[in-house]
């Protein structure tokens, strides 16, 4: 009772990275709250997956294994979580801010009349005093996220409703095994008790998996362009530099909205979170929502004609100048001075 539960997401039978990241965060929160870390895994052919999960410090793993539960569908997964949460009364429930988690989370929170905060970038434990009643709430989950188009950072709390639910994007939290031999308890749920026939009303007709060719998440160097790049033509310069340096091209939301780059390249709170060893920000002013997705880069270079661009404050190197002047010079130097 009153534990932390993480929903484990499966993509084509494999556990998503975001689930391991949430377990890692969940473990540290559980230590702080002196409660158990639990996980729920729903799908089919789940045998063996428990061995991947327990090392992250999972005390109890609930599994629901049925051929009809894979691939993910909203209604059956919702029914299982809602009933399980009603039985177990977790204080905190976490899931990935993925197309699955953002489909499932709101449905579950609505059924339980509980609060859900989407796309958190930080989760902490803290206290809260109600300004009117002076009631003091201890050990609340602070759900911290950029809001208002990423211009502010809001700390959200759910003082009275349980579970306190939050989704977190992939790549935002670290993943770390606590103990390869960690011993947890495996509980197989009797699926028929949790789902109804009516939960299978939506039929999946076809699934067509296409791995996105753009892989900015794992790129060691990212050349990212913002609205300040000015045009699709100038964006080609970024691709040229990326080709030379073995980098990937990323973009801010404004650049994607302007049609300079594909959506798959978007970095930031509503895009991908990255932590490359080098991040070259070209014509990016640095809205919070963008910074949230790249702040943890090892080294940041900002190229901007505005010497006061907010991103310059977190950049290790600032080049004040036009992107179309600077990039050709970088390419030229690199070609002349490396083999």
């Amino acid at each position: 009772m009153n534990n932390i539960i993480v929903y484990i997401e499966l993509v084509e039978g494999k556990i998503s990275d975001v689930s391991f990241e949430l377990l890692t965060k969940g473990r540290s929160l559980a230590n702080q709250l002196k409660c158990k870390l639990e996980a729920v895994l729903i799908g089919h052919n789940l045998k063996g997956l428990d061995k991947e999960l327990f090392p992250y410090g999972v005390d109890t793993l609930y599994t629901a294994d049925d051929t009809r539960l894979a691939p993910y569908a909203t209604l059956p997964h919702t029914s299982i979580l809602v009933k399980l949460f009603q039985e177990q009364q977790p204080q905190i429930a976490l899931m990935g801010a993925t197309t699955i988690g953002r489909d499932l989370g709101p449905r579950v929170s609505s059924a339980l009349k509980s609060g859900l905060t989407a796309d958190c970038t930080e989760l902490e434990i803290g206290t809260h005093t109600d300004s009117k009643t002076k009631h003091v709430y201890n050990e609340l989950l602070y759900q911290i996220r950029p809001a208002f188009g990423g211009n502010i950072i809001a700390t959200i709390i759910n003082p009275d409703c349980r579970p306190q639910m939050a989704t977190v994007r992939e790549g935002v939290m670290k993943k770390e095994i606590v103990d390869p031999q960690y011993k947890g308890k495996l509980v197989n749920l009797e699926v028929a008790k949790y789902v109804d026939e009516i939960d299978f009303i939506v039929k999946i007709i076809e699934r067509h998996i296409e791995e996105s060719k753009i892989d900015i998440k794992n790129a060691p160097i990212i050349i990212a362009g913002g609205f300040g790049v000015g045009s699709s033509d100038n964006f080609k310069l970024l691709h040229k530099l990326a080709g030379v340096l073995g980098a990937e091209v990323g973009a801010s939301r404004a650049a994607v909205d302007a049609g300079f780059a594909e959506h798959a390249r978007q970095i930031g709170q509503t895009g991908v979170t990255v932590r490359p060893k080098l991040y070259i920000a070209c014509g990016i002013s640095g809205q919070v929502q963008h910074l949230a997705g790249m702040m943890e880069s090892n080294l940041i270079i900002s190229i901007n004609s505005d010497s006061n661009a907010p991103i310059n404050k977190i950049a290790n190197y600032v080049i004040t100048g036009k992107v179309e002047n600077v990039i050709p010079k970088m390419i030229k130097y690199y070609r002349e001075h490396t083999k």
Binding site: T99, F148, I153
Partner: protein, 291 residues
């Protein structure tokens, strides 16, 4: 041929994409007044999908439903210009302070009043909150299925609809009977533009309370042009449990709001002159950051 009863959920939002440095006040709060209020972009994508159903099934009706302050009537008019048949402004002080849960409760209660709804479209998410929660929560409150991240309607019959969804690593087509909620992704087609005839027809549309405020001869004009009176619903027009509305119906509270705190780093500054660029690149290459 079936005539569909379609609802499109829409929200008037501050255009947060235009929030530059001047959008922040000295005390660190947002200066909302300088941001234009717009039709949430993905809700326009949703309207387009509704219009496409209507193109295929003439006689279907599209009702735009929005919750917000009186001025949100602007997006209902925008919807009329582009082809919506009806619009309802859900507005009441009792809704103030709603989080996504209280919002979806109010919207679902209003949809129940409309009755016999087949499809509820909405945008995937609104640009001021980016939560993507209201669509699924409305579906749950109504006890009907949801299809999120919709990109295209593949096939529609009297009984079922097939929808293509855009996921992280590919696409999925699902088939669902009516009624259902469909949230439309940003990768779906843009909304068709305003229609000039409809613009002329609806440009004077307004709510009764707006007319009253402007001291129009509101009763006369409302009687003469019923299509120009936009429906305005408050808590008294819907059956609700007041505890589930507004602040009291909102489990999430905003504890605090901060400007981002930039971590101080030692910053080296360069110009775009050749010597500066050479020095920077030399440093990067020598420290094996590149190459």
């Amino acid at each position: 041929m079936k005539k569909f009863n379609i609802i499109v959920l829409a929200k008037q939002v501050p255009d947060t994409r235009k929030a530059g440095k001047d959008a922040m006040k000295a005390d660190g709060t947002i200066n909302r007044s300088i941001l234009p209020a717009i039709f949430n972009p993905e809700d326009l994508h949703a309207l387009e999908q509704a219009l496409r159903v209507k193109d295929q099934f003439p006689g279907s009706t599209i009702t735009l439903l929005t919750m917000g302050p009186p001025r949100a009537v602007e997006i209902l008019k925008e919807g009329f210009y582009r082809g919506a048949d009806d619009g309802i402004l859900l507005t009441d002080r009792a809704f103030a302070g709603s989080d996504t849960l209280a919002t979806s409760y109010a919207l679902a209660s209003a949809i129940r009043e409309i009755k016999d709804v087949d499809i509820i479209f909405s945008g995937r998410q609104a640009i001021d909150g980016d939560t993507a929660q209201v669509g699924p929560q409305v579906a749950e409150k109504l006890g009907i299925p949801q299809v999120t991240y919709a990109e295209e309607i593949i096939k529609i019959t009297d009984q079922t609809i097939q929808v293509k969804r855009r996921l992280e690593h590919g696409v999925e087509t699902v088939e669902c009977p009516f009624p259902l909620v469909i949230t439309v992704n940003n990768t779906a087609p843009h909304c068709r533009p305003r229609n000039a005839k409809r613009l002329m027809k609806y440009k004077h549309a307004s709510t009764m309370s707006n007319r009253q405020e402007n001291n129009d001869d509101y009763l006369a004009s409302a009687i003469a042009h019923t299509h120009l009176t936009i429906k305005e619903w408050g808590v008294n027009n819907i059956t609700v449990d007041h505890e589930q509305l507004g602040l009291s119906g909102s489990p999430t509270k905003v504890k605090k709001v901060d400007n981002i705190i930039f971590q101080a780093v030692e910053t080296k500054t360069f110009t775009d002159m050749d010597e500066d660029m050479d020095e920077l690149m030399k440093e990067l290459v020598e420290s094996h950051i590149v190459g």
